[in-house]
Protein backbone atom coordinates (compact mmCIF):
# COMPACT_ATOMS: atom_id res chain seq x y z
CA UNK A 1 0.00 0.00 0.00
CA UNK A 2 1.40 3.33 -1.05
CA UNK A 3 1.69 6.04 1.57
CA UNK A 4 -0.07 8.52 -0.68
CA UNK A 5 -3.72 9.54 -0.67
CA UNK A 6 -5.80 11.12 -3.40
CA UNK A 7 -8.45 13.33 -1.77
CA UNK A 8 -11.57 14.13 -3.78
CA UNK A 9 -13.93 16.81 -2.48
CA UNK A 10 -17.55 17.27 -3.55
CA UNK A 11 -19.29 20.31 -2.10
CA UNK A 12 -22.51 22.26 -1.85
CA UNK A 13 -22.17 25.74 -3.33
CA UNK A 14 -21.13 28.21 -0.64
CA UNK A 15 -20.15 25.51 1.87
CA UNK A 16 -16.46 26.42 1.71
CA UNK A 17 -15.60 22.98 0.31
CA UNK A 18 -13.16 24.41 -2.21
CA UNK A 19 -11.37 26.36 0.53
CA UNK A 20 -11.24 23.23 2.72
CA UNK A 21 -9.50 21.46 -0.18
CA UNK A 22 -7.09 24.35 -0.72
CA UNK A 23 -6.10 24.45 2.95
CA UNK A 24 -5.85 20.65 3.13
CA UNK A 25 -3.45 20.63 0.16
CA UNK A 26 -1.39 23.46 1.69
CA UNK A 27 -1.19 21.74 5.06
CA UNK A 28 -0.11 18.43 3.52
CA UNK A 29 2.17 20.05 0.92
CA UNK A 30 0.45 18.31 -2.02
CA UNK A 31 -0.98 19.65 -5.31
CA UNK A 32 -4.49 21.14 -5.49
CA UNK A 33 -6.67 20.92 -8.61
CA UNK A 34 -9.90 22.79 -9.26
CA UNK A 35 -10.24 25.07 -12.31
CA UNK A 36 -6.63 24.13 -13.11
CA UNK A 37 -7.99 20.84 -14.48
CA UNK A 38 -9.74 22.68 -17.29
CA UNK A 39 -6.60 24.41 -18.47
CA UNK A 40 -4.59 21.19 -18.24
CA UNK A 41 -7.18 19.16 -20.18
CA UNK A 42 -7.29 21.87 -22.84
CA UNK A 43 -3.53 21.91 -23.16
CA UNK A 44 -3.23 18.13 -23.37
CA UNK A 45 -6.00 17.74 -25.94
CA UNK A 46 -5.05 20.74 -28.04
CA UNK A 47 -8.65 21.98 -27.86
CA UNK A 48 -9.74 25.45 -26.82
CA UNK A 49 -9.88 26.20 -23.09
CA UNK A 50 -13.15 28.06 -23.66
CA UNK A 51 -14.79 24.82 -24.81
CA UNK A 52 -13.84 23.13 -21.55
CA UNK A 53 -14.84 26.12 -19.42
CA UNK A 54 -18.25 26.11 -21.00
CA UNK A 55 -18.72 22.38 -20.33
CA UNK A 56 -17.16 22.43 -16.84
CA UNK A 57 -19.31 20.46 -14.38
CA UNK A 58 -22.27 20.51 -16.74
CA UNK A 59 -24.20 17.48 -17.89
CA UNK A 60 -25.12 16.98 -21.53
CA UNK A 61 -28.72 17.98 -22.06
CA UNK A 62 -30.83 15.70 -24.21
CA UNK A 63 -31.60 18.59 -26.59
CA UNK A 64 -27.91 19.30 -26.87
CA UNK A 65 -27.35 15.59 -27.41
CA UNK A 66 -29.69 15.51 -30.41
CA UNK A 67 -28.00 18.54 -31.90
CA UNK A 68 -24.49 17.33 -31.21
CA UNK A 69 -24.44 13.65 -32.08
CA UNK A 70 -22.10 13.16 -34.97
CA UNK A 71 -21.51 16.87 -35.35
CA UNK A 72 -18.38 17.28 -33.28
CA UNK A 73 -15.87 14.60 -34.23
CA UNK A 74 -13.11 16.13 -32.08
CA UNK A 75 -9.56 14.94 -32.46
CA UNK A 76 -9.22 14.47 -28.69
CA UNK A 77 -12.53 12.67 -28.46
CA UNK A 78 -11.69 10.35 -31.33
CA UNK A 79 -8.78 8.99 -29.30
CA UNK A 80 -11.36 7.57 -26.89
CA UNK A 81 -13.55 6.20 -29.66
CA UNK A 82 -15.90 9.04 -28.79
CA UNK A 83 -16.45 10.72 -32.12
CA UNK A 84 -20.18 9.97 -32.03
CA UNK A 85 -20.67 11.38 -28.52
CA UNK A 86 -22.12 14.76 -27.62
CA UNK A 87 -19.49 17.43 -27.10
CA UNK A 88 -19.81 17.62 -23.32
CA UNK A 89 -19.34 13.87 -23.03
CA UNK A 90 -16.20 14.00 -25.15
CA UNK A 91 -14.81 16.82 -23.05
CA UNK A 92 -15.71 14.90 -19.87
CA UNK A 93 -13.69 11.93 -21.13
CA UNK A 94 -10.70 14.16 -21.80
CA UNK A 95 -10.89 15.75 -18.32
CA UNK A 96 -11.23 12.22 -16.86
CA UNK A 97 -7.94 11.22 -18.48
CA UNK A 98 -6.28 14.32 -17.00
CA UNK A 99 -7.66 13.45 -13.54
CA UNK A 100 -6.44 9.83 -13.79
CA UNK A 101 -3.00 10.97 -14.88
CA UNK A 102 -2.71 13.45 -11.99
CA UNK A 103 -3.82 10.82 -9.46
CA UNK A 104 -1.15 8.46 -10.84
CA UNK A 105 1.47 11.10 -10.07
CA UNK A 106 0.79 10.89 -6.30
CA UNK A 107 -1.11 12.50 -3.43
CA UNK A 108 -3.28 15.47 -4.37
CA UNK A 109 -6.61 17.19 -3.72
CA UNK A 110 -9.18 17.33 -6.54
CA UNK A 111 -12.35 19.43 -6.33
CA UNK A 112 -15.62 18.22 -7.92
CA UNK A 113 -15.79 16.96 -11.53
CA UNK A 114 -16.88 13.42 -10.55
CA UNK A 115 -13.26 12.74 -9.54
CA UNK A 116 -14.38 10.26 -6.86
CA UNK A 117 -16.27 8.31 -9.51
CA UNK A 118 -13.54 8.56 -12.15
CA UNK A 119 -10.99 7.26 -9.60
CA UNK A 120 -13.31 4.69 -7.97
CA UNK A 121 -10.94 1.77 -8.64
CA UNK A 122 -8.09 3.39 -6.69
CA UNK A 123 -7.52 1.97 -3.22
CA UNK A 124 -5.75 5.15 -2.11
CA UNK A 125 -8.68 7.51 -2.69
CA UNK A 126 -10.53 9.26 0.13
CA UNK A 127 -13.78 10.90 -0.96
CA UNK A 128 -15.23 13.77 1.04
CA UNK A 129 -18.41 15.87 0.77
CA UNK A 130 -18.66 19.31 2.40
CA UNK A 131 -22.07 20.85 3.08
CA UNK A 132 -23.71 23.43 5.32
CA UNK A 133 -27.20 24.78 6.07
CA UNK A 134 -28.44 27.29 3.50
CA UNK A 135 -28.21 30.21 5.99
CA UNK A 136 -24.49 29.58 6.51
CA UNK A 137 -23.92 29.24 2.78
CA UNK A 138 -25.74 32.48 2.01
CA UNK A 139 -23.58 34.26 4.61
CA UNK A 140 -20.44 32.84 3.00
CA UNK A 141 -21.59 33.63 -0.54
CA UNK A 142 -22.38 37.25 0.36
CA UNK A 143 -19.08 37.70 2.21
CA UNK A 144 -16.68 35.95 -0.16
CA UNK A 145 -18.36 35.78 -3.58
CA UNK A 146 -19.96 39.22 -3.17
CA UNK A 147 -23.41 37.92 -4.11
CA UNK A 148 -26.46 40.07 -3.37
CA UNK A 149 -28.11 38.80 -0.19
CA UNK A 150 -31.55 38.59 -1.75
CA UNK A 151 -30.32 36.40 -4.59
CA UNK A 152 -27.70 34.33 -2.78
CA UNK A 153 -29.96 31.48 -1.62
CA UNK A 154 -31.37 30.97 -5.11
CA UNK A 155 -27.89 30.99 -6.64
CA UNK A 156 -26.63 28.44 -4.10
CA UNK A 157 -29.54 26.10 -4.81
CA UNK A 158 -29.27 26.53 -8.58
CA UNK A 159 -25.57 25.70 -8.52
CA UNK A 160 -26.20 22.64 -6.34
CA UNK A 161 -28.76 21.48 -8.86
CA UNK A 162 -26.24 21.86 -11.70
CA UNK A 163 -23.58 19.95 -9.78
CA UNK A 164 -26.05 17.18 -8.91
CA UNK A 165 -27.16 16.90 -12.56
CA UNK A 166 -23.56 16.71 -13.71
CA UNK A 167 -22.58 14.12 -11.10
CA UNK A 168 -25.66 11.95 -11.53
CA UNK A 169 -25.31 12.03 -15.32
CA UNK A 170 -21.71 10.85 -15.42
CA UNK A 171 -21.72 8.43 -12.47
CA UNK A 172 -23.95 5.63 -11.17
CA UNK A 173 -24.08 7.25 -7.73
CA UNK A 174 -26.08 10.13 -6.30
CA UNK A 175 -24.54 13.52 -5.53
CA UNK A 176 -24.94 14.56 -1.90
CA UNK A 177 -25.94 11.10 -0.56
CA UNK A 178 -23.94 9.84 2.44
CA UNK A 179 -23.27 6.47 0.82
CA UNK A 180 -21.54 8.13 -2.15
CA UNK A 181 -18.65 9.39 0.03
CA UNK A 182 -16.32 8.03 2.69
CA UNK A 183 -16.81 11.10 4.87
CA UNK A 184 -19.19 14.05 4.87
CA UNK A 185 -19.00 17.11 7.10
CA UNK A 186 -21.13 20.14 7.93
CA UNK A 187 -18.61 22.97 7.62
CA UNK A 188 -20.78 25.35 9.67
CA UNK A 189 -20.21 23.10 12.68
CA UNK A 190 -16.43 22.85 12.38
CA UNK A 191 -15.18 25.84 10.38
CA UNK A 192 -12.74 25.44 7.50
CA UNK A 193 -9.72 24.49 9.64
CA UNK A 194 -11.86 22.07 11.65
CA UNK A 195 -12.89 20.29 8.43
CA UNK A 196 -9.25 20.04 7.35
CA UNK A 197 -8.28 18.51 10.70
CA UNK A 198 -11.19 16.09 10.54
CA UNK A 199 -10.21 14.87 7.06
CA UNK A 200 -6.59 14.38 8.14
CA UNK A 201 -7.74 12.47 11.21
CA UNK A 202 -10.04 10.27 9.09
CA UNK A 203 -7.17 9.46 6.76
CA UNK A 204 -4.88 8.43 9.64
CA UNK A 205 -7.54 6.21 11.24
CA UNK A 206 -8.35 4.65 7.86
CA UNK A 207 -4.73 3.85 7.01
CA UNK A 208 -4.24 2.41 10.52
CA UNK A 209 -7.36 0.25 10.06
CA UNK A 210 -6.10 -0.99 6.70
CA UNK A 211 -2.85 -2.08 8.30
CA UNK A 212 -4.19 -3.82 11.38
CA UNK A 213 -7.43 -5.10 9.84
CA UNK A 214 -10.89 -5.37 11.39
CA UNK A 215 -11.15 -6.34 15.06
CA UNK A 216 -14.98 -6.28 15.08
Amino acid sequence: MSEGTVYTIGRQYGSGGRYVGRKLADKLGIPFYDKELVAMAAKESGLSEALFQNADEKASSSLFYSLAVGSYPLTGGAAFGAAEMPLNDQLFLIVSQTIKKLADEGSCVIIGRCADYILRERKDMLSVFIHAPIEARVERAVKYYKLEGSKAAEICLRNDKKRANFYNYYSDKKWGMCRTYDLSLDSSKLGIDGCVDQIISFEKTWKGYLEKGPSD
Copy 2:
Protein backbone atom coordinates in the same frame (compact mmCIF):
# COMPACT_ATOMS: atom_id res chain seq x y z
CA MET B 1 -23.33 26.34 26.62
CA SER B 2 -23.68 23.07 28.49
CA GLU B 3 -20.77 20.64 28.42
CA GLY B 4 -23.10 17.82 27.43
CA THR B 5 -23.79 16.43 23.98
CA VAL B 6 -26.75 14.43 22.71
CA TYR B 7 -25.53 12.09 19.95
CA THR B 8 -28.08 10.82 17.46
CA ILE B 9 -27.08 8.03 15.08
CA GLY B 10 -28.88 7.12 11.88
CA ARG B 11 -27.57 4.05 10.08
CA GLN B 12 -27.86 1.80 7.07
CA TYR B 13 -28.87 -1.74 8.01
CA GLY B 14 -25.76 -3.87 8.59
CA SER B 15 -23.38 -0.90 8.73
CA GLY B 16 -22.63 -1.43 12.43
CA GLY B 17 -24.15 1.96 13.32
CA ARG B 18 -25.89 0.59 16.39
CA TYR B 19 -22.64 -0.94 17.64
CA VAL B 20 -20.80 2.34 17.01
CA GLY B 21 -23.40 4.05 19.21
CA ARG B 22 -23.11 1.38 21.92
CA LYS B 23 -19.30 1.68 22.02
CA LEU B 24 -19.47 5.49 21.92
CA ALA B 25 -21.80 5.51 24.94
CA ASP B 26 -19.58 3.04 26.82
CA LYS B 27 -16.42 5.04 26.07
CA LEU B 28 -18.02 8.30 27.22
CA GLY B 29 -19.87 6.70 30.15
CA ILE B 30 -23.26 8.03 29.03
CA PRO B 31 -26.65 6.30 28.52
CA PHE B 32 -27.46 4.46 25.29
CA TYR B 33 -30.99 4.21 23.88
CA ASP B 34 -32.17 1.97 21.06
CA LYS B 35 -34.95 -0.58 21.61
CA GLU B 36 -35.02 0.65 25.23
CA LEU B 37 -36.98 3.66 23.95
CA VAL B 38 -39.92 1.46 23.05
CA ALA B 39 -40.20 -0.06 26.53
CA MET B 40 -39.85 3.38 28.15
CA ALA B 41 -42.52 4.97 25.94
CA ALA B 42 -44.86 2.07 26.66
CA LYS B 43 -44.31 2.38 30.38
CA GLU B 44 -44.82 6.15 30.41
CA SER B 45 -47.96 6.06 28.27
CA GLY B 46 -49.49 3.01 29.94
CA LEU B 47 -50.00 1.44 26.50
CA SER B 48 -48.90 -2.04 25.47
CA GLU B 49 -45.24 -2.50 24.54
CA ALA B 50 -46.32 -4.73 21.65
CA LEU B 51 -48.14 -1.75 20.08
CA PHE B 52 -44.92 0.27 20.10
CA GLN B 53 -42.79 -2.62 18.88
CA ASN B 54 -45.09 -3.09 15.94
CA ALA B 55 -44.92 0.61 15.03
CA ASP B 56 -41.19 1.01 15.73
CA GLU B 57 -39.48 2.94 12.93
CA LYS B 58 -42.43 2.40 10.60
CA ALA B 59 -44.27 5.13 8.75
CA SER B 60 -48.06 5.26 8.67
CA SER B 61 -49.31 3.98 5.36
CA SER B 62 -52.06 5.95 3.69
CA LEU B 63 -54.32 2.88 3.67
CA PHE B 64 -53.71 2.45 7.35
CA TYR B 65 -54.40 6.15 7.76
CA SER B 66 -57.86 5.85 6.16
CA LEU B 67 -58.71 2.89 8.33
CA ALA B 68 -57.35 4.39 11.49
CA VAL B 69 -58.49 8.01 11.51
CA GLY B 70 -60.79 8.48 14.45
CA SER B 71 -60.66 4.82 15.34
CA TYR B 72 -57.89 4.85 17.92
CA PRO B 73 -58.49 7.68 20.40
CA LEU B 74 -55.64 6.59 22.68
CA THR B 75 -55.31 8.14 26.10
CA GLY B 76 -51.63 8.89 25.50
CA GLY B 77 -52.33 10.36 22.09
CA ALA B 78 -55.15 12.52 23.39
CA ALA B 79 -52.69 14.31 25.67
CA PHE B 80 -51.05 15.66 22.48
CA GLY B 81 -54.36 16.55 20.86
CA ALA B 82 -53.79 13.58 18.62
CA ALA B 83 -57.01 11.63 19.00
CA GLU B 84 -57.77 11.99 15.29
CA MET B 85 -54.38 10.72 14.18
CA PRO B 86 -53.53 7.28 12.82
CA LEU B 87 -52.18 4.93 15.48
CA ASN B 88 -48.56 4.97 14.30
CA ASP B 89 -48.54 8.77 14.39
CA GLN B 90 -49.85 8.81 17.94
CA LEU B 91 -47.22 6.30 19.01
CA PHE B 92 -44.56 8.37 17.24
CA LEU B 93 -45.60 11.42 19.26
CA ILE B 94 -45.36 9.46 22.50
CA VAL B 95 -41.88 8.14 21.62
CA SER B 96 -40.90 11.72 20.68
CA GLN B 97 -41.83 12.92 24.16
CA THR B 98 -39.71 10.14 25.67
CA ILE B 99 -36.76 11.12 23.47
CA LYS B 100 -37.09 14.81 24.41
CA LYS B 101 -37.25 13.96 28.09
CA LEU B 102 -34.14 11.75 27.91
CA ALA B 103 -32.20 14.44 26.04
CA ASP B 104 -33.18 16.95 28.76
CA GLU B 105 -31.57 14.68 31.32
CA GLY B 106 -28.09 15.09 29.77
CA SER B 107 -25.58 13.53 27.39
CA CYS B 108 -26.67 10.30 25.74
CA VAL B 109 -26.61 8.31 22.50
CA ILE B 110 -29.90 7.68 20.67
CA ILE B 111 -30.21 5.29 17.71
CA GLY B 112 -32.60 6.04 14.84
CA ARG B 113 -36.25 6.97 15.41
CA CYS B 114 -35.92 10.44 13.83
CA ALA B 115 -34.20 11.56 17.03
CA ASP B 116 -32.11 14.13 15.14
CA TYR B 117 -35.29 15.66 13.76
CA ILE B 118 -37.20 15.48 17.05
CA LEU B 119 -34.31 17.23 18.81
CA ARG B 120 -33.51 19.66 15.99
CA GLU B 121 -33.92 22.74 18.21
CA ARG B 122 -31.23 21.59 20.63
CA LYS B 123 -27.89 23.33 20.28
CA ASP B 124 -26.09 20.45 21.99
CA MET B 125 -27.07 17.77 19.48
CA LEU B 126 -24.58 16.08 17.15
CA SER B 127 -26.19 14.02 14.38
CA VAL B 128 -24.27 11.19 12.75
CA PHE B 129 -25.03 8.76 9.91
CA ILE B 130 -23.15 5.45 9.56
CA HIS B 131 -23.12 3.64 6.22
CA ALA B 132 -21.05 1.08 4.31
CA PRO B 133 -20.96 -0.53 0.86
CA ILE B 134 -23.47 -3.37 0.47
CA GLU B 135 -20.72 -6.04 0.34
CA ALA B 136 -19.43 -5.00 3.78
CA ARG B 137 -22.98 -4.89 5.18
CA VAL B 138 -23.79 -8.36 3.87
CA GLU B 139 -20.61 -9.70 5.47
CA ARG B 140 -21.61 -8.11 8.79
CA ALA B 141 -25.21 -9.29 8.57
CA VAL B 142 -24.16 -12.88 7.90
CA LYS B 143 -21.57 -12.82 10.70
CA TYR B 144 -23.51 -11.05 13.43
CA TYR B 145 -27.22 -11.33 12.59
CA LYS B 146 -26.85 -14.87 11.22
CA LEU B 147 -28.66 -13.99 7.99
CA GLU B 148 -28.41 -16.36 5.04
CA GLY B 149 -25.81 -15.06 2.61
CA SER B 150 -28.13 -15.31 -0.40
CA LYS B 151 -30.83 -13.22 1.26
CA ALA B 152 -28.70 -10.77 3.22
CA ALA B 153 -28.37 -8.08 0.54
CA GLU B 154 -32.11 -7.99 -0.06
CA ILE B 155 -32.82 -7.77 3.67
CA CYS B 156 -30.33 -4.93 4.09
CA LEU B 157 -31.90 -2.95 1.26
CA ARG B 158 -35.46 -3.65 2.42
CA ASN B 159 -34.66 -2.45 5.93
CA ASP B 160 -32.99 0.68 4.56
CA LYS B 161 -36.13 1.38 2.57
CA LYS B 162 -38.28 1.05 5.71
CA ARG B 163 -36.01 3.35 7.67
CA ALA B 164 -36.01 5.90 4.87
CA ASN B 165 -39.83 5.79 4.61
CA PHE B 166 -40.16 6.27 8.34
CA TYR B 167 -37.67 9.13 8.49
CA ASN B 168 -38.98 10.93 5.41
CA TYR B 169 -42.57 10.60 6.63
CA TYR B 170 -41.98 12.13 10.06
CA SER B 171 -39.34 14.76 9.18
CA ASP B 172 -38.87 17.40 6.51
CA LYS B 173 -35.41 16.06 5.70
CA LYS B 174 -34.21 13.11 3.66
CA TRP B 175 -32.76 9.98 5.24
CA GLY B 176 -29.23 9.20 4.08
CA MET B 177 -28.51 12.64 2.52
CA CYS B 178 -25.28 14.30 3.66
CA ARG B 179 -27.04 17.59 4.41
CA THR B 180 -29.35 15.88 6.91
CA TYR B 181 -26.47 15.11 9.31
CA ASP B 182 -23.50 16.89 10.85
CA LEU B 183 -21.18 13.98 10.12
CA SER B 184 -21.42 10.83 8.04
CA LEU B 185 -18.91 7.98 7.95
CA ASP B 186 -18.28 4.82 5.94
CA SER B 187 -17.73 2.24 8.68
CA SER B 188 -15.99 -0.16 6.29
CA LYS B 189 -13.16 2.36 5.96
CA LEU B 190 -12.65 2.96 9.69
CA GLY B 191 -14.02 -0.03 11.60
CA ILE B 192 -16.29 0.38 14.61
CA ASP B 193 -13.64 1.80 16.94
CA GLY B 194 -12.42 4.15 14.23
CA CYS B 195 -15.95 5.56 13.83
CA VAL B 196 -16.20 6.07 17.59
CA ASP B 197 -12.88 7.97 17.62
CA GLN B 198 -13.94 10.05 14.64
CA ILE B 199 -17.22 11.07 16.32
CA ILE B 200 -15.40 12.03 19.52
CA SER B 201 -12.88 14.04 17.55
CA PHE B 202 -15.68 15.82 15.63
CA GLU B 203 -17.37 16.74 18.91
CA LYS B 204 -14.18 18.23 20.35
CA THR B 205 -13.46 20.28 17.22
CA TRP B 206 -17.08 21.47 17.09
CA LYS B 207 -17.16 22.56 20.75
CA GLY B 208 -13.81 24.32 20.29
CA TYR B 209 -15.14 26.10 17.19
CA LEU B 210 -18.26 27.19 19.09
CA GLU B 211 -16.08 28.75 21.77
CA LYS B 212 -13.58 30.58 19.61
CA GLY B 213 -15.93 31.38 16.73
CA PRO B 214 -15.23 31.44 12.99
CA SER B 215 -11.86 32.70 11.77
CA ASP B 216 -12.75 32.24 8.09
